[in-house]
Symmetry: none
Subunit: 279 residues, 2 copies
């Protein structure tokens, strides 16, 4: 399995364009480019931007120069979406007439699903101050919302683009995984946690040598009374059982137990460090 | 089911604090506040910010004045997280030794799961130019990453906070749904994973006494050379950091350390069990 087959992921994300309508602040265009590139999107279409070009765009797009060169400027939203199969209009609230409304997560899944079928998808963002008009929203197949704090729903356009590009990438990664993997519960859990560990984890079988060693050591330092262990062995199992030790940690801890045992048995004595400073 | 019971959602999100370390640009603090408030988070802790206060913070935090008033300023990361039970350090890449690493989505689920149990959670963000130091990252239970375009992973701190706050809100909404819904398969899995614990978990502050004790004990049995500790202290932090000790386990382990110390110092001697069989 290769979760990060970026070829497939970026190939699908290339089918999704971001469309910004009548943007006023160049900084928002720059931030959008950066958000897009970070998440692997590449195509930005500007519908009649108020200020373009502008040095703020380049400044905020830091390193996304290739995306700046690919920006497309058009006069109307119709032009921006004419070759698209699926159009999402972003909207903070529902308008005059109800429209098919999707939260950003299911919307991103829909979009990527369409992208794998070679369809073109547009996500359309409105003006900083008043979003998209009803006429513009009516050009969309779906309206898309981001679930925000109902008492303070003032995500700005750059932040909204960030969240949506992130969800598009997550959907693309998920799609890619589904294509490459057989579904399997354990596997899915593994992926969710996506730990890249440097050492293999020890098996239950190895742990069955670990606990007796720990208990023997504790018995030798008279911390554990084998005739009346009470809950101590159980608590130690619960404690170390929930870490999942890796091989190095396992040997490290067993090394400590052995040192303590040697100390308790008198077979190992501390060096007198005062006398051995020259070591 | 009421997906938008904002009382419950915000109550849980109140347990999650955002921590920004040594932030240089006030605009990033302002953007962070806006992102937080939009997603229903309320507590920002600044560790030694370079410029504070500053009008840019207020400008970019547009309308999040209540959050500005609640900002806490501290000198060290330790102070920022001392009453936290679970700490996530954000990191673009893995460092000296791998740490339990979670993508933002499962991390947000973990965090909200802990929040429902009244635990305090911190998500820690580093400097604009070079993130968190290895020492700071070692204070975290988990490292958190955002899956970005491997060829261009330059999400800035404000964008990263936006994505994480969004995922926290999504996790809170999901949790809220699960609590209100009838149990189903998914729910049962959840319950299995998040069983009720019988003892309160210890805080980061308590763990800051735990590690020095462990290291001192290991030094006394000459398992650890304080002049050449190599990766041992870091490995032990990683190990015990991912268990999340409860209060009883904490005292149990510290009791063992003290016993071993007494043995090493000769202030405690084994009873001769041969002679005391009649006990």
């Amino acid at each position: 399995m290769n979760l990060f087959d970026s070829n497939n992921v970026s190939k699908h994300l290339d089918h999704v364009r971001i469309v910004m309508v009548n943007t006023t602040l160049p900084a928002n265009i720059g931030s959008a480019l950066r958000a897009m590139k970070t998440m692997g999107l590449s195509k930005l279409v500007l519908v009649a931007p108020k200020t373009y070009p502008h040095p703020d765009i380049d400044a905020l797009a830091a390193g996304a120069q290739d995306l700046i060169e690919k920006i497309e400027i058009v006069e109307t939203l119709e032009q921006a979406i004419q070759d698209c199969h699926m159009v999402f209009g972003t909207s903070a609230r529902s308008r005059t007439i109800p429209w098919p409304l999707l939260d950003v997560r299911p919307a991103a899944k829909e979009a990527l699903n369409a992208a794998t079928k070679q369809q073109n998808i547009a996500i359309v963002f409105g003006r900083e101050d008043r979003g998209l008009t009803n006429e513009e929203l009516a050009l969309a197949n779906y309206h898309l919302t981001i679930p925000v704090n109902p008492e303070y729903g003032v995500l700005n356009v750059a932040q909204a683009i960030q969240v949506i590009c992130y969800e598009l990438r997550m959907a693309a990664l998920e799609q890619n995984t589904q294509i490459q993997d057989k579904p399997d519960d354990h596997m899915q859990l593994k992926q969710q946690q996506s730990m890249e560990w440097d050492e293999p984890l020890v098996t239950q079988q190895q742990m069955e040598q670990f606990y007796p060693h720990l208990e023997k050591m504790l018995t030798e330092i008279e911390f554990l009374d084998p005739n009346n262990p009470r809950l101590l062995p159980l608590r130690l199992r619960r404690l170390f059982g929930r870490i999942q030790l890796d091989r190095m940690e396992y040997h490290l801890l067993r090394g400590i137990f052995s040192r303590v045992q040697a100390l308790a048995q008198g077979s190992w004595k501390k060096t007198n460090t005062e006398d051995h400073n020259h070591d």
